[in-house]
């Protein structure tokens, strides 16, 4: 008996160690622009040969969780999303960090991430089988409509100039078609470069658009400038009241994130954007979005971390990896001779339980590790730009090169960085460009494939129950937006007088 207790204690300790290692690597790689989740997981994978199955799987999942949160740290602190998934967090996170309190912004992000992680975990534990089955029923017509909803999210970014936002969207859509066309096998817009046959490298795009353009912005300002904040502003915590106020956004984000994570190939890059616009639509104070709204931080962060549980779900229930990272983590299962899918749940319930428990532990550990580490990361804010710029550039370049091993990708990033710098100076939306670029392949492929399968019958988009539901959601969103804007205009006329009096 004593021995058993000992073994349990030891395995808990080693699992804890594995989780901490995974979290640390994940957060660090997530926070460094260019170096992302996939590189972190790939680096940790060889370690898993030497570990037990539970430890190695938890370590990789912890890395996944940590990276989803880590990307937000640099989005808030530097205005540079550490990962493509964290791009929506720049909108409000950066604003709140600059104008109010960086600590609060990071706290909303951390609480949101933790909430999302737990939410995704619970969905995974309790609804794995039914949700995975439901998701299998969704097909191209629905993916197409979901992609359209994603594009509508652009309207919620609060662009000053609608025409410029639309130009960004169209450029993004065009950029998203670069590469070999799946349906004809012909290269499109590749300029003869084999490096873009499989599309633009998303890492070099994200780094170019966000990191490099931000660096150019920094270079354009005073290089020795640094923000200064009171120590109290750097504290990463929320009051109960603040937590309650953003709870609705966290729930919205988590629900969207876990759902999007389940859909293979659609998931993680889009879910943050959808969560952002979803939370804005449901918010009592949508006018604050884009100006440092706590909900605008909490919702996409919750969505990103909820995606982890969501993406794991079809993998555990059906053996289909829901995202590229899960596909790599699948390697760890296979190394240990575990076959994911229904038979794992049947044959090895102990292992599944250990993974589920460990997954929840991962999220909780992330919260505390985040609290401890984020304060250190946040110091970047009070570091002068002359130190930050070279550090960001080095990390970006290493990240881009190691993602594909092509110098070509560095040139792409530089070109896009310059373009994004000009776009930002002229008030074109970089966020809209990226969103359109990641959505373009989903929208185009599902649209064309739906029609190929239906032999050109457009009814396929409206005669399926699932697509009807989504179609209704789109109409409702549009109607709601119209009503809101009419109301908003009416309200604008009345209280402006009152506001100007108080100022």
């Amino acid at each position: 008996m004593d021995l058993l207790a000992n073994i349990d204690f030891m395995s808990v300790v080693s699992a804890f160690g594995a989780i901490m290692l995974g979290l640390f690597v994940g957060m660090l790689f997530g926070a460094l622009p260019g170096l992302g989740l996939i590189i972190g997981v790939t680096l940790l994978l060889p370690l898993s040969y030497a570990m037990g199955p539970v430890e190695s799987i938890l370590m990789l999942l912890a890395c996944y969780q940590g990276a989803e949160y880590g990307g937000s740290i640099s989005a808030i602190v530097l205005g540079i999303p550490g990962t493509a998934m964290a791009a929506p967090i720049v909108l409000d996170g950066r604003e709140m960090a600059k104008t109010t309190s960086p600590g609060k912004a990071l706290a909303f992000s951390l609480y949101g991430s933790t909430f999302g992680g737990i939410f995704g975990g619970l969905v995974l534990i309790f609804f794995a089988e039914p949700v995975a089955r439901f998701a299998l029923g969704l097909a191209d017509p629905e993916f197409f409509l979901l992609g359209i909803i994603g594009l509508l999210a652009v309207a919620t970014f609060g662009a000053k100039d609608f025409v410029k936002a639309m130009i960004s969207v169209f450029l993004g859509l065009i950029a998203g078609t670069i590469g070999i066309d799946l349906f004809t096998g012909m290269p499109r817009l590749t300029g003869g470069y084999f490096e873009v046959y499989e599309g633009l490298n998303l890492i070099s795009v994200a780094v170019g658009l966000f990191a490099l353009s931000e660096v150019f912005m920094m270079l354009g300002n005073r290089m020795n400038k640094a923000y200064s904040f009171d120590a109290s502003d750097m504290k990463i915590s929320l009051t109960m009241k603040e937590f309650w106020a953003s709870l609705k956004a966290m729930i919205t984000g988590s629900a969207i994130g876990s759902f999007m994570g389940v859909l293979p190939g659609v998931g993680s890059t889009v879910s943050g954007w959808l969560a952002y616009s979803g939370a804005k639509g449901l918010s009592k104070t949508p006018e604050k979005f884009g100006k440092g709204s706590p909900e605008g931080i909490a919702a996409p962060d919750a969505a990103n971390n909820a995606t982890v549980g969501g993406a794991l779900l079809p993998f555990i229930a059906l053996g289909i990896p829901g995202s590229a990272s899960i596909a790599i983590i699948a390697g760890a299962f296979i190394i240990h001779g575990i076959t994911p899918g229904p038979q794992m749940i049947r044959n090895d319930p102990g292992l599944i339980q250990a993974i589920f428990l460990g997954f929840m532990a991962t999220t909780v550990c992330m919260f505390f590790m985040g609290k401890a580490l984020t304060t250190v990361f946040a110091r970047a804010l009070i570091t002068p730009n002359s130190f930050l710029v070279p550090a960001i550039l080095i990390s970006s370049m290493i990240g881009i090169y190691s993602s594909g091993g092509h110098f070509f990708d560095l040139w792409v990033a530089l070109g896009l960085g310059v373009a994004a710098y000009i776009m930002r100076r002229l008030d074109y939306s970089v966020a809209a460009f990226v969103l359109a670029m990641v959505l373009a392949p989903i929208i185009e492929k599902s649209f064309r494939r739906a029609l190929v399968i239906s032999e050109g019958d457009y009814m396929t988009f409206i005669d399926r129950t699932y697509s009807q539901v989504i179609m209704m959601a789109i109409v409702a969103t549009l109607a709601y937006a119209v009503v809101k804007s009419v109301q908003g205009r009416r309200r604008l006329r009345e209280p402006t007088a009152a506001e100007s009096r108080s100022e």
Binding site: A139, L182, G185, Y197, E198, A327, G404, G405, H406, R449
Partner: protein
């Protein structure tokens, strides 16, 4: 052209006479094994496993370099552009070697490379969802003939990929009308089969893992090693002339001296029997199927020729 040929011939003659001496001179520095895919996949796993085992045979380090992109042609292009001294070789699959060059856009031709060793073929089958009423080849053929254009099959590589070409070839040989639906990866493809969006697929089945992708018949010469597949026929056994070989193996630039090729062949061949490589074969349900330079050369030539014919027939190339 003639000059290079003469040069190659001179080299070959030289290496024949001083073969023994040269043999000891190679390899004297680390060898680069280029993998035209990203880290973490099946090809990468085998390349790393084999490299590790062959290091002991050669007494030199073998560095695995991932050069993904361009439909795996970037990796092969880099081997083609490297010094033909045998220190840069590629671990390739069939597509960048016997399909991509046929489109005429790659910097290299299939014949710009010479084979060192074929390690295995990836088994592929025509599959249906596990609970489909189609139980085997006869059921399927009858259904497809009765419902022309109704059998939708997915591939994970899209139009013009190996799976597409092979299945179109099958359709031609059997004179049936089946429809290709391209997907962007095997996860999305598996989900579409399981969800009933498409009737079937050309891919690696997974019922040995309790999955839902059930094979009707294999298009490859080999089957996965699990006993659950023993009763599923191959096209060769069914007498259909549509066999497809998705080989994976190691190749080098065509100008690498023959004795170096043979040293590399010996080392990699021996590496296939190493425990860590055997473990990979077992894990991924793949039958080891070594073929030396001559046999592998025939496989490559045959695959290239058959692909060219089919691609012309279905209008992918002119």
């Amino acid at each position: 052209m003639t000059f290079t040929k003469t040069l190659a011939a001179t080299f070959a003659a030289l290496s024949l006479t001083v073969g023994a001496a040269v043999a000891q001179d190679f390899p004297t520095k680390p060898i680069e094994l280029v993998v035209p895919y990203g880290a973490g996949g099946l090809t990468d796993a085998f390349a790393r496993g084999v490299a590790q085992a062959a290091e002991e045979e050669l007494g030199q380090k073998i560095v695995v370099v991932n050069r993904p992109g361009g439909g795996a042609t970037i990796g092969l292009t880099s081997v083609f552009a490297a010094e033909p001294d045998g220190y840069t070789v590629a671990f390739t699959t069939s597509s960048p070697l016997v399909i991509q060059p046929l489109y005429g856009k790659t910097a290299y031709k299939t014949t710009d490379f010479q084979p060192i060793l074929r390690l295995y073929d990836i088994p592929v089958a025509i599959n249906v969802q596990r609970d489909s009423e189609l139980q085997g080849y006869e059921d399927w053929l009858e259904w497809v003939k009765a419902n022309p254009g109704e059998f939708t099959y997915g591939t994970s590589g899209g139009t013009g990929s190996g799976g597409h070409i092979a299945t179109e070839q099958l359709g031609k040989v059997l004179d049936v009308d089946i429809r290709h639906i391209p997907f962007e990866g095997s996860a999305a493809l598996a989900a579409a089969v399981m969800g009933g969006q498409i009737k079937g697929s050309n891919q690696l089945p997974n019922i040995h893992r309790d999955g839902e992708i059930r094979p009707l018949f294999f298009m490859s010469p080999s089957r996965p090693t699990d006993a659950v597949y023993d009763s599923v026929p191959t096209v060769a056994e069914l007498g259909i002339d549509a066999e497809v070989v998705f080989f994976s193996g190691i190749i080098a630039h065509k100008d690498v001296p023959a004795d170096r090729i043979s040293i590399l062949n010996d080392a990699f061949r021996a590496a296939m029997d190493a425990p860590n490589v055997q473990e990979l074969f077992e894990r991924d349900q793949i039958m080891p199927d070594p073929a030396g330079p001559e046999a592998f050369a025939e496989i490559i030539a045959a695959a290239s020729k058959s692909n060219e014919t089919t691609m012309r027939e279905i209008g992918l190339i002119e």
